[in-house]
């Protein structure tokens, strides 16, 4: 063992390495998120977090659940494949954001350096509370013109009119039922009534 007589400094040095490695593992275990590497070189839990974002466009299936009369009218007409929210938009209201808990000392310290993003305001959808969140009837002069104003850029087979010549300021729904726009069809020229059945 004479050869190792003067090797004490090497063992101490090796010990230092071991300690440093253990400290590295400890710190790494704390700062690397638990799900990092679950599916790849990223935080696996992020997928679930993104999937939890609130939905605003309820989807035409949701609308048709209550407004089956409109859905029936639509299936007969040229707008059969135009979804409800293409014209009516997403019907929702933002509720006031709840007060955020202040967090512990460490979290408050971090918040001082990196101000956290303001929390998303909770949403209330028309589909969840139709009495509170009430739709605004779209102005057909604006709404219909978005798609049907004549332009050489649009596909040739798409129905297009020059608004100034075609109706001269008369709202479109005077002659056309937006839910089934062809004139002369049984639904045409009747007011576009809504309301849940």
């Amino acid at each position: 063992m004479n050869g190792l007589k003067d090797a004490g400094h090497l063992f101490r040095f090796a010990g230092l390495f071991v300690v440093a490695f253990l400290v590295f593992l400890l710190v790494r275990g704390y700062v690397v998120p638990k799900t990092f590497g679950q599916y790849g070189h990223y935080r696996g839990a992020a997928i679930g977090e993104i999937a939890q974002h609130p939905v605003k466009f309820a989807g035409h299936q949701t609308c048709e659940g209550c407004h089956s009369d409109i859905a029936d009218t639509k299936t007969k007409g040229a707008h059969a494949h135009v979804n409800c929210e293409a014209c009516h938009g997403a019907l929702f209201e933002r509720l006031p954001a709840p007060a955020q808990p202040k967090g512990n000392l460490y979290e408050r310290f971090v918040a001082l350096i990196v101000p956290p993003a303001p929390p998303d305001a909770p949403l209330l959808l028309h589909a969840d509370d139709p009495a509170t969140v009430t739709p605004v009837k779209p102005d057909t002069l604006v709404l219909c013109a978005r798609c049907h104003t004549a332009s050489a850029a649009k596909p040739k087979g798409f129905p297009q009119v020059d608004p100034a010549v075609h109706m001269g300021g008369v709202p479109c729904e005077t002659c056309h039922n937006p839910h089934s726009p062809a004139m002369g069809s049984d639904a045409a020229a009747s007011p576009a009534t809504g309301g849940a059945k």
Binding site: R43, G48, A86, A90, C147, K154
Partner: protein
């Protein structure tokens, strides 16, 4: 079970650490959604697009996209008879409020909706230095905004210009293919709002998805195929002048 004061003192910190993870919880996607059963893409049918801007507005509403930035936008191309290399391209405010009326002339016009191509081999995810952006097991390129540093490498790397730095969050932002919707069985906001069916969400792993029949029977193209990005936004009727 007898717990001495000594044992309690040892157990308490361990319990505190454990409770932290209980509180944090593990966010779950929709309970009936299996990532391994899907591979998402998009079909864009150019001859059907009328340039109404519904998709751009719907996307901005659904995803709180800040003004002046776009997760999806529409470009209008004007190609004169013989000149394919320098088309006139306009996209006023991303096509959000539609396009000015075009007059008949010798050229041809068409609209090209653009969005993240959710590339299978995307350059944007490869350059991220921290692992904040990735392609999910179901084929959607996403950003972990709690992890993103906002360095902007991915914004530069995207050959399609589909990413931007969020002006208030100071992190990268992009189309998520409405991941919060498609995992719940809904279609994307842009597809929901498109009045002509020019955009269709496609599940390439679902054998019953009409995309398979369409891809079999129609000539389709992806943008910049020479980049070998594995783009999954399939364009039908794409003109050679589109870049």
């Amino acid at each position: 079970m007898n717990i001495s004061r000594r044992h309690l003192l040892i157990l308490l910190p361990a319990a505190a650490v454990a409770w932290k993870y209980v509180e944090a919880g593990t966010p779950e996607a929709s309970p009936n959604y299996q990532m391994s059963e899907h591979w998402w893409g998009m079909l864009i049918n150019i001859p059907k697009c009328i340039g109404c801007g519904n998709c751009v507005r719907a996307c901005a509403t659904e995803n709180d996209v800040p003004d002046g930035n776009f997760r999806t936008w529409v470009e209008r191309y004007h190609v004169t008879d013989t000149n394919l290399t320098t088309p006139e391209v306009i996209s006023p405010d991303g096509g959000k409020e539609g396009f000015p009326v075009a007059q008949e002339d010798a050229g041809k016009y068409f609209f090209v909706p653009k969005m993240c191509n959710h590339c299978a081999d995307s350059p944007c995810t490869q350059v991220c230095p921290v692992g904040a952006t990735f392609i999910s097991p179901d084929g959607v390129v996403l950003i972990d905004q709690t992890y993103c540093l906002g360095c902007g490498y991915c914004v530069q790397a995207c050959p399609y210009g589909c990413r931007y730095l969020h002006p208030t969050k100071h992190v990268a932002d992009k189309c998520t293919l409405c991941y919060h919707r498609i995992t719940k069985g809904l279609t994307t906001a842009c597809c929901e709002a498109c009045p002509t069916g020019a955009r269709q969400l496609a599940d390439l792993k679902n054998p019953n998805d009409p995309i398979h029949e369409f891809l079999k029977t129609h000539p389709v193209q992806v943008l910049k195929p020479q980049m070998a990005t594995g783009a999954k936004a399939y364009y039908y009727g794409l003109d050679g002048s589109v870049r």
